[in-house]
Symmetry: C2
Subunit: 357 residues, 2 copies
Amino acid sequence: MSFQRRNIAAMDGYVPGEQVNSADVTKLNTNENPYPPSPKVAATLKEIDSAFLRRYPSPTAETFREAAAQCHDISVDNIVPTNGGDELLRLVLTTFAEPGESVAVTRPTYSLYRVLTEIQANPLHEIALDDTWDLPENFVQQLMDAEAKLCILVNPHAPTGKLLSVATLSEIASNFNGLLLVDEAYVDFVDPAREYDSVPLAIERDNVLLLRTLSKGYSLAGLRFGYGIGSAELIHPILYKTRDSYNTDYIAQQLAAAAIQSREYAENIWEKVREAREKLAEALRQLGFSVTPSQANFLLATLPDGHNAELLYQQLKSENILVRFFDQERLQDKLRISVGTPGENASLLAALKSRFA
Amino acid sequence: MSFQRRNIAAMDGYVPGEQVNSADVTKLNTNENPYPPSPKVAATLKEIDSAFLRRYPSPTAETFREAAAQCHDISVDNIVPTNGGDELLRLVLTTFAEPGESVAVTRPTYSLYRVLTEIQANPLHEIALDDTWDLPENFVQQLMDAEAKLCILVNPHAPTGKLLSVATLSEIASNFNGLLLVDEAYVDFVDPAREYDSVPLAIERDNVLLLRTLSKGYSLAGLRFGYGIGSAELIHPILYKTRDSYNTDYIAQQLAAAAIQSREYAENIWEKVREAREKLAEALRQLGFSVTPSQANFLLATLPDGHNAELLYQQLKSENILVRFFDQERLQDKLRISVGTPGENASLLAALKSRFA
């Protein structure tokens, strides 16, 4: 007999992007940062004494919480550290959405959201983005019609890279009677000229939570460290009730704190990624691709007419260049390309030029 | 308004044992191993290049799975790595117990089980241990009467250290129509003369899962690494559906694999802990304590008549010696004492001698 719950038996799991370790592969498929973590992270790692590992870590990662509070100029009560941003997503469902209550997302969006709702048996309500990947004008009305308890928006959006303004988020939060979770996995790559800063909104409002991760902006995807930002009232039950009691480890806590304290280093690599992003977008357009303006560290590129995106994905893979193809409505003629170093982007462009120039 | 789910708002969270970093404290309160992790763990840590952290880790911790499969002489299909043993406990509920279905445990037991059932809204059915901390004779009948979907037994038992035999576990599994999860957090400290090995039972049966952790036996509480052992049919949905897709990090995967490959080192420290455990138990008995024979790395000690356990806990704490007091039925006249190094145990005994000799 099978012991699985009905909803678990019925679901498919999340399928992560391909992970390869070969140095020969130009890996532009999972939005990793092309630059290494800061020298302070490397130095902190060198200093760690394995003898300390016999002891339990701080249950709430206090060193990191203090560093993050200082970074954002908020209180530690506004921060919950998690085992990657993915854990925060799960915990928000666990803490705030009764099984059976609706969760609303956009279509398309990060595919993990669907998986998490399937695990907890929450109906998923998908609200289609318009032709320019913007929210429809009646977005809040659709949230209310769906009786959504929770709305998850990834901002900048994945897989398009479009950025919603804080004013838009604020308007949604003001008119929505549920909880708004803004997944800011890619926020570090937003052009500073956009003056995007949602932290005051999250602190002031009682129904807004932000997800941050060190995976992308701080080049620490391998470390699994993220955190939530919100009012103390929203953070408290995640921190003291639903979170696994020791959810982050001693080494990760130290390295994550070091990373978030390396502000100057981080800002420098964000700027390098932004410059490379704009150059790569322009080069792709020269080759006939249509590229959505992106505020993230990836580009969604539509192939020139008459070309097959899945086939191109396969061809590039056979040449040791990995990009992401999504076999989904509205995405089947597109590839999502992570922004690499100038050298990696040049390798990709060289492979494309033979076909599209 | 509060956005918390009703059951979350109504519950208290798990309260971890006190964690302190001071070298002045004799810390015998959270069952940490008194010896450092193996030299191979230290060497592996030294070799880790922080530049690798920019990449996602293996989603399923393949290096560790292979090392664990080899250690137990089973297939990787029988192993799911988790972010500490606590994560496996949660995942077993998530995967196999519908909200509303009963979960059975013994009374007393590890207090986290109750918290996890409260989070998922599973009724908890507690089956009282008998006067000698054994399972009652009608244990399986009580499981059936409670219509338990899942039974969690910690073996060796916490907080008593009593060990159930594999024959007893096998009999329960054969007669119970639900899933049996055996939490073997302390199994490495079982006397080899007991010839306890439940792995074949878990591989053969379709309703038995084992929890293992590197926190205690491998001195890696700070690393957060555990794993489940079971039939491929039980492991598969945890590994590919309900687990957070990158639940363990790159560094932890490498160090955990190194630890489990350091078999000789580990067996040597387990034997040292066993020797210290028997000496400490004898010394406590000499002072008038009643001590349950333990197969774990802790002792449950009943104070001599007329002494107050909570007061003694406080007094020891004021002298920088931490032990654990549980304000629970049947435990209020007892302290749980983790087995330390001979020096740490001597410090504790010296503090007790002034009061009980």
